[in-house]
């Protein structure tokens, strides 16, 4: 019997599902960063507000990269529904703690995807995922570096103002 399935898509059903879940996660991350941007702006942390708005854009690009991949491989990308975005945060520091937690969670998800690709022998998707795994090194590094500034600079007095001013300078050199 003619194989109609492979004519339509090269993506295994499980891989398609896990990539669609990741599309949703990137969209969620994008929205959370936008919420953090608004909060920082409201609290007077201007540089951090800009930083998070840029992070939000990046996450949307990650989402679109996955979205286009699923479609290009004959799968069907699903435009995600995003709910449960916080509007308030405990403190300036906690915003960055949540950022690090979120990024670590994303890294873990990509590890799971990579593992699934190997189990299902989908080396094309495995190769595609490499870019994201590498990107996560930078994302986690930046979040950790910023959190360290809270200890190095200290939050007392002008501390938080100083930390905010230094946020744009945190870069991963690789």
């Amino acid at each position: 019997m003619k194989d109609l399935l492979r004519l339509k898509t090269s993506l295994n059903e499980e891989i398609e599902a896990i990539l669609n879940a990741q599309i949703k996660m990137e969209a969620h991350a994008s929205s959370v960063y936008l919420a953090m941007s608004a909060w920082c702006d409201d609290q007077g942390y201007d540089a951090s507000a800009t930083f998070f708005s840029e992070q939000s854009e990046e996450e949307r690009k990650h989402m679109m990269k996955l979205f286009n991949y699923v479609n290009d491989r004959g799968g069907k990308a699903i435009s995600p529904e995003i709910t449960n975005i916080p509007a308030d945060f405990e403190s300036f520091r906690s915003v960055f703690e949540e950022m690090l937690e979120q990024e670590m969670h994303v890294t873990q998800q990509f590890n799971i995807i990579a593992d699934k690709c190997i189990k299902l022998k989908d080396f094309v998707t495995f190769q595609f995922i490499q870019w994201f795994l590498e990107e996560q090194i930078e994302e986690e590094y930046v979040a950790r570096r910023i959190l360290e500034m809270f200890d190095v600079i200290g939050e007392e007095g002008m501390g938080r103002w100083e930390i905010d001013k230094h946020i744009p300078k945190v870069k991963y050199e690789g």
């Binding site: 019997m1 003619k2 194989d3 109609l4 399935l5 339509k8 898509t9």
Partner: protein
């Protein structure tokens, strides 16, 4: 009615219906509840997902009369399926079997390709 020029093969059959593949038009024909309907490959699998997503326990618990039936109108087909709980179960059994056979066929062709290229 199945298309007259069809080159179709049986994919899976139960006592309640059957699924055929038309390799000329690259589609599947679902013969169920007294009529035959053509689905494109992705529409067929989306249809299966919709049938799998029907909440049977909600249908059982809900005492209102409308809850005894569920209506599924797949896009790009002229059909409207009015299913009671038995209908849902019968359709699921048929679609599950068909999906298994379609995937099995795909795996077998992939294996045969590997062997023929290796030889």
């Amino acid at each position: 009615m199945v298309c007259p020029l069809a080159n179709f093969e049986e994919v899976f059959k139960t006592e309640h219906g059957a699924v055929y593949q038309c390799s000329r038009q690259n589609c599947y024909w679902l013969d169920f509840a007294g009529a035959t309907t053509a689905f494109k490959v992705n529409d067929f699998f989306n249809f299966k997902k919709r049938i799998d997503a029907i909440d049977l326990s909600a249908m059982i618990i809900d005492p209102s009369r409308t809850a005894d039936f569920t209506i599924v109108m797949p896009f790009r087909t002229p059909r409207c399926y009015v299913l009671d709980i038995n209908g849902v179960l019968n359709l699921r059994e048929l679609l599950d079997g068909a999906k298994f056979m379609i995937e099995l066929n795909s795996v077998v062709s992939a294996c045969l390709q590997v062997t023929s290229h290796g030889a």
